[in-house]
């Protein structure tokens, strides 16, 4: 699955996107975030306030309990500040 990062989350992780293989048992957005946090300290710290992280599966905004399903792209980002 492709993961996209935006704004300060992109900067803190020092990457705009990556491809990851979903490990067994990871079926929701929240579980995937928890999985990413186990990877290293930088990633763990970047997600330390999960309520500040918004998610979109393909082109739909979703909550953390949303199933990843067959989506090709997950985007993770801070609260939006457009307009």
């Amino acid at each position: 699955m492709k993961i996209l990062y935006f704004a300060w989350l992109r900067e803190r992780l020092d990457r705009a996107e990556e491809e990851i293989e979903l490990p067994p048992g990871v079926t929701t957005v929240g579980e995937l975030i928890a999985h990413l946090r186990t990877r290293d300290e930088v990633t763990d710290a970047a997600f330390e306030r999960p309520h500040l992280i918004r998610a979109a599966l393909d082109t739909e905004l979703v909550e953390h309990d949303a199933p990843l399903g067959s989506a090709r792209t997950l985007a993770l980002f801070p609260p939006m500040t457009g307009g």
């Binding site: 935006f6 300060w8 985007a75 801070p78 457009g82 307009g83």
Partner: protein, 148 residues
């Protein structure tokens, strides 16, 4: 195209005139233009908007369609820039057209309030001291919630 993501500045008045030219007999048109602010106590020298384009296009089209249905609009358009922009330049423009002015006003305000919290743009301000991400405001969530 009734929803446009742009990286260059746009001409607010020319966009309004183009929109009005297709007014089809409607009586009331509202244009909202958001500009890069320039205040003496907060000297932002430039603003960069990051954008997730595929999601932004989808969200703004949904929002436009929702506004048209909810407020019986004849037409609605949204323009939103991303990239780097300077104080005084336009960031966003929303235009609505309706038989009744109350609907044209409400439609434009609904689009702006919802866009602020639901469209994937992120503002980074440059000042003399460096650059910082703008934090989302609780006030924006409150304005958004008025329409639920």
């Amino acid at each position: 195209m009734t929803v446009r993501l742009l990286v260059s500045p746009f001409d607010p008045g020319a966009e309004t005139n183009r929109f009005l030219a297709a007014s089809e007999g409607a009586g009331a048109a509202v244009t909202f233009t958001g500009l890069v602010r320039r205040t003496s106590d907060d000297p932002v020298t430039a603003l960069t908007l990051e954008c997730y384009e595929a999601l932004a296009q989808a969200q703004l089209e949904r929002l436009r369609d929702a506004a048209i249905a909810r407020f019986s609009l004849i037409a609605a358009e949204i323009l939103h820039r991303h990239g780097r922009m300077l104080p005084g330049e336009p960031i966003v423009q929303v235009m609505t057209l309706a038989p009744h002015r109350g609907d044209a006003f409400a439609g434009a305000e609904f689009i702006m309030d919802t866009l602020k919290t639901d469209a994937p743009f992120w503002k980074k301000e440059e000042t003399g001291d460096g650059a910082r991400w703008v934090e989302a405001k609780g006030e924006d969530d409150a304005r958004r919630a008025r329409w639920d």
